[in-house]
Symmetry: C2
Subunit: 201 residues, 2 copies
């Protein structure tokens, strides 16, 4: 790795950190890109070479960890049962959350306060779910995801989503593992009532 890349990596981190600082201090909307650039001692034009949008300044953090998690799923050997592989995925998310508590809480808070950030998060979450669908399909031997693959991915994502929400609402005090396990149990035991086809309960 050359000197150039090292410097750029540093700059990138510096920008993201300063952005996070200013956002949490003054709020996302009341912070301009110009201010962030000034704080990081770069030109606004340069900032935009590292981060394509203002929102990406926060989102990239989450994006990194999400793609690490899906990577973990991809690394599961093909003979591991799907349910177990998906648990590894959940596990990976849990790991990043417990080791980034404060950050996750702050980001979640910002998301709920700022519609544009919220939308971006919803977007990357959806795309993440798509990636998982693809991998589930691949494991099932198909090229593109079908209803079953998508449903498996969606339920896994739903388990993570509801657990994280519950965890955030507890202010980070609850145990993520307990929450996901309880959610999974609710699904397995059928305690969560699925609507029945043809309108019969």
């Amino acid at each position: 790795m050359g000197l150039r890349e090292i410097k750029m990596e540093r700059t990138r981190h510096l920008i993201a950190d300063k952005a996070f600082e200013l956002f949490t201090e003054h709020g996302f909307d009341r912070t301009t890109v110009e201010q962030i650039a000034a704080a990081a001692e770069v030109g606004p034009r340069t900032l935009y070479r590292y981060f394509p949008t203002k929102e990406s300044l926060i989102i990239s953090f989450v994006e990194t960890h999400l793609s690490a998690a899906v990577q973990r799923l991809r690394e599961q050997p093909d003979d591991v049962p799907l349910s177990e592989a998906l648990y590894a995925l959940i596990d990976s998310v849990i790991a990043t959350i417990v080791s980034n508590e404060a950050r996750v809480l702050a980001v979640y808070d910002m998301s709920t306060c700022t519609p544009s950030v919220n939308a971006q998060f919803s977007g990357i979450w959806d795309r993440w779910c798509d990636e998982i669908s693809d991998e589930v399909a691949r494991r099932g031997g198909s090229r593109s995801p079908d209803l079953t693959a998508r449903l498996a991915a969606s339920t896994a994502c739903a388990v993570i989503d509801v657990s994280v929400r519950e965890w955030v609402e507890s202010g980070g005090k609850a145990s993520m593992r307990t929450l996901t396990d309880r959610a999974l149990e609710l699904l397995r035991t059928g305690e969560v009532p699925f609507p029945a086809p043809a309108g019969r309960a």
Copy 2:
């Protein structure tokens, strides 16, 4: 209803229609708000009184139908089992889709082509899921949704989501009802593999 409101309703529809026209013809990004305003023969400033953002010009259509669907859920008597009430919700979405085929397909297409639109859609979808969670919680006798309520809402949304995707991919040729019923069946029979708590499959 006064003349004033009638005119405004007309203007609102005119703007939305012209916007949809221009978007489908030239693409979302290559259409400016100014052009839409000109096509609808109003000032840009007026357009923004009807639609807060450029994206909302497309999204409002979906938003309307989604809130109609959740309204349908709310209208279900409290003694109707939750699973049946949720089926009514699904049913409502199916109804709007089959009676707006072309529009839904076009909107979906635009969404996949335009990141900002996509993000907005993900956002309102999430908020919709939250509304459903609230109603599920209320039916369960709690003030705010817990893990179970959120999970029930999320799975219902997931069923709709994966079905719509499959339907869109079929070019609108598949039967929505068949798809949702199949998805529900997959969940009920446990054919979709849920990860097991504690890492055991």
